[in-house]
């Protein structure tokens, strides 16, 4: 008997079929990975299990019995909890209030704060989360907030815990912590369903994997004996060549950064990007990577150091200034920093170039064709260029942001986590696009915490630690080499 089973579940949004007759079962006590590209239907399926959506047809079985999960509350009552990708918490309330929001411990008509705090404290201890239940949630780290969501699910005595991309905003150490908690939960009989794009995590935590593609169930296999390539093939339906190198790095130095300093984030950073070169910028969280590229983009002022762009001094006062001189940044958060959901895709594509241009009148007529050509050339699947980008999958949204910048014909492309939360296929496409653009003579500086990505993409990797450059590694370096430079912090008197 399965802890949770889907029988012939279908769900459509408007005319789009998100799920087409998915039949899938999860054994009790299993750690079950659910994989698939963006738009494959994973989140829809999980939201059905959590009572957020109702299926159009088909049914759910919980311990072999049909259940009707009409609301999130009903799902929780059936013992199914969902930990969302973005932490959905009340940042203004304290930890205990968050755990018990909506089902406060009461004595008569009043909320029993003491009992609530006591129960919260024991839950937190369970999860080895060392925070006081009266701490305001906005003061917790991303990892602590993620664990708090787990605590919330456990407070409802959930026996099936669904985690939707829980690690996207966590550091490696925090991932380790989360995983040891999850292992512990599983050993106590909690069934885990783990939705992720990250293959290494899936292989580490899970025993079984189910793959969805285009709203259909491709298959379920035990993970033992499977290789990452097998899974990717099942997800994408084709083999992805792992591209390496793109040749032709020019000799001309396009970007020359000398002694750039903005305390307390980074100090005395030296780096160069040549024409046609893809340079990786690696470091652990807090090493100052994002701050370096944001400063180069003119979002912040450096306090010392010089930057030269094609031999001329470059000191942007604002992003508009940097863009006009040909330096652009694909920011880390595409939804909050990159896209306008109130405007159609066409304007999302064109705004940056317009803002940088001297002209003030728009010529949308002529530009429509340009946008449509871009969508088809880049394989961005959209109903039309007149709809807002919220209907696009994460990977396609990311492509829209990237296309917006390439339309400005930049000299230097700064990329901050270009494939965060993007599925394997789109990731491959984005890498290919970056390589193509670099081959035309653009210089790229890529920040990524995905080390295999950097090793595959970059010609050279500059490693930061605590805001200082620790060294440079050429193509062919291993993950160990990079991590060694990035973590020397802990050794006394390194560097």
């Amino acid at each position: 008997m399965s802890a949770l089973a889907f029988e012939d579940v279908s769900k459509a949004f408007g005319g789009v079929k998100a799920l087409r007759g998915v039949t899938l079962s999860v054994a009790p006590g299993d750690a079950h990975a659910l994989m698939g590209e963006n738009g494959a239907g994973k989140s829809t399926l999980m939201k059905i299990a959590a009572g957020i959506y109702r299926p159009d047809s088909g049914q759910l079985l919980r311990n072999g019995e049909a259940v009707d999960l009409a609301s999130p509350r009903a799902a929780l009552a059936a013992g199914i909890g969902l930990v969302h990708q973005e932490t959905l918490l009340f940042p203004n309330l304290d930890v205990a209030e968050n755990i018990f929001a909506g089902h406060e411990v009461r004595r008569g008509w009043f909320v029993d704060r003491r009992a609530m705090h006591e129960r919260a404290a024991s839950l937190l201890a369970h999860l080895r989360l060392d925070v006081d239940p009266s701490t305001t949630v906005s003061r917790l780290s991303a990892a602590q907030q993620q664990l708090l969501q787990v605590a919330r699910a456990l407070a409802f005595k959930c026996e099936v815990l669904i985690l939707d991309e829980p690690t996207t905003s966590l550091t490696d150490t925090e991932v380790d912590r989360l995983f040891s908690v999850l292992e512990q939960l599983r050993s106590r009989g909690v069934t885990l369903i783990y939705v992720s794009h990250r293959l290494p995590e899936v292989f580490r935590l899970c025993r079984t994997v189910s793959v969805l593609r285009d709203g259909q169930h491709v298959g379920t296999w035990p993970l033992e004996g499977k290789s990452p390539q097998d899974i990717v093939r099942a997800m994408v339906g084709r083999d992805l060549a792992t591209g390496h190198g793109h040749g032709k790095v020019g000799d001309t130095i396009r970007l020359d950064v000398r002694g750039l300093t903005r305390r307390p984030f980074f100090t005395d950073v030296h780096l160069q990007v040549r024409a046609g070169e893809i340079v990786g910028l690696f470091g652990l969280i807090g090493a100052g990577r994002t701050e370096v590229v944001e400063t180069l983009f003119g979002l912040y002022r450096a306090e010392a150091g010089t930057v030269q762009l094609d031999g001329a001094p470059f000191a942007p006062q604002a992003p508009a200034d940097a863009i006009r001189q040909g330096v652009v940044l694909q920011p880390e958060m595409r939804q909050s920093q990159g896209l306008f959901f109130n405007l159609p895709i066409s304007e999302n594509l064109l705004l940056a170039r317009e803002a940088a241009s001297k002209g003030w009148l728009r010529q949308l007529g002529r530009e429509r064709g340009e946008c449509e050509a871009l969508l088809s050339r880049w394989g961005i699947k959209a109903a039309s260029i007149d709809v807002p980008p919220d209907s696009l999958s994460g990977g396609n949204q990311q492509k829209v942001v990237l296309a917006k910048w390439l339309l400005t014909a930049p000299r230097i492309l700064l990329l901050d986590e270009p494939t965060k939360g993007v599925d394997v296929g789109a990731k491959h496409d984005i890498h290919q696009l970056v390589r193509e653009e670099a081959a035309r003579g653009m210089g790229c500086l890529v920040v990524s915490s995905d080390l295999p990505e950097l090793l595959a993409l970059a010609d050279r990797i500059v490693v930061l630690r605590q805001g200082r450059v620790q060294g440079e590694l050429l193509r062919g370096a291993t993950e160990e080499d990079v991590m060694h430079l990035a973590t020397r912090a802990d050794e006394p008197d390194a560097a």
Partner: protein, 348 residues
């Protein structure tokens, strides 16, 4: 519990695997034009006029009390005071802000114009420019508080509203400036009768600003700033400049309303245009603006002021309805916005 449960919250920002794009077939341009908010607002206005034309139909024949050229002009003339200010206020709303100052700016403008013209013996043109200067200063102050001090727009413009209204009382010291003594109602600059100036200015400015918001880069940037300010900054849009532009425009347009008001009605008084700001905001909202920014239309806002103008004109003509007009105005706002949201939800 009225609180939203975190696990049950809306499925917002589902970056991962939201439903793929809806396959909307390429609707013809004509159909999509019909579905714009401007047109549906116009439809409401026409329906409203038709209703009052029917309801107030004179029994014994003869002159219609509501549908006649004179009354139409009257409605346009009074609505224009709101309408011109609403152009600016709707731009502020689209940029994600709100402007509470227009009513007070209108009042201070009438007072300053009257004071300079009558007491300081300035020429009429110089007095008008002084009046418009009030708008520049008030809008500039709002912009400075929002952009430089980073006050929430509601608070910043609430302060500017108080300061402006307060100055109007200080300048007048309880008096009012009777401009009509020196500007006869028959005055017709450039051969245009005074009564026609307000509607003409309103229509011309509506067209100008509509085109600006649609086809000029800075106008589109207002939508971008209102939709996602962070992304606008990261896209190279100079957010501070755009915000300054909309607040100053709102101030100047409100001042222009004040100029037209004092020329038309002949009085510069500190307690004029009391509470207009809320009617103006309501007009922008029934014209399709979203108070969370990024959505709205200049034409819609001006049509909104006409919808209210017709209500204010027609209701007093219905016996016994006088005391209901605020209630009805309130109901109209709620009903229109609710219907709009229901339609939007069905489309989604």
């Amino acid at each position: 519990m009225s609180r939203t449960d975190p696990q049950h919250g809306p499925a917002a920002a589902d970056a991962g695997s939201g439903p793929p794009p809806a396959a909307t077939p390429g609707r013809s341009r004509w159909v999509s034009l019909l579905r714009t908010r401007e047109l549906s607002t116009l439809f409401i206005l026409v329906a409203e006029i038709a209703f009052f034309a029917w309801y107030l139909w004179p029994d014994g024949g003869g002159r219609h009390p509501f549908v006649n050229a004179e009354n139409g002009l009257l409605i346009l003339k009074y609505s224009a005071i709101y309408g011109i200010a609403a152009i600016g206020a709707s731009m502020v709303i689209i940029s994600g802000g709100v402007d509470l100052a227009p009513g007070a700016v209108i009042a201070l403008t009438t007072v300053v114009l009257g004071h300079q013209y009558l007491e300081s013996q300035w020429s009429l043109l110089a007095s008008i420019l002084a009046g418009l200067g009030v708008g520049v200063l008030a809008g500039g102050l709002s912009a400075a508080l929002v952009v430089l001090v980073r006050l929430p727009p509601f608070i910043a413009t609430l302060g500017v509203m108080g300061i402006t209204r307060g100055l109007a009382y200080i300048v007048t010291e309880g008096r009012f400036f009777d401009v009509s003594a020196r500007i006869p109602p028959s005055w017709a600059p450039l051969g245009v009768p005074l009564d026609l100036i307000a509607p003409i200015v309103m229509v011309v400015l509506t067209v100008v600003f509509h085109l600006f918001m649609r086809h000029v880069q800075a106008g589109r940037a207002v939508f971008a700033v209102g939709g996602n300010e962070t992304a606008a900054r990261y896209t190279g849009i100079q957010v501070g400049r755009i915000k300054t532009m909309v607040y100053v425009a709102s101030g100047v347009l409100a001042a222009l309303s004040g100029v037209i008001l004092v020329l038309g009605q002949g009085q510069g008084k500190a307690d004029l245009a009391n509470g207009y700001e809320l009617d103006i905001i309501a007009s922008a909202v029934i014209g399709g603006a979203s108070l969370s920014g990024g959505r709205g239309s200049v034409v819609g806002a001006v049509l909104g002021t006409l919808i209210f103008g017709v209500l204010r004109n027609a209701l007093p003509q219905i016996p016994g309805a006088t005391f209901y007009d605020r209630l009805i105005v309130g109901l109209v706002v709620v009903v229109i916005v609710v219907v709009d949201q229901l339609l939007a939800r069905r489309q989604a």
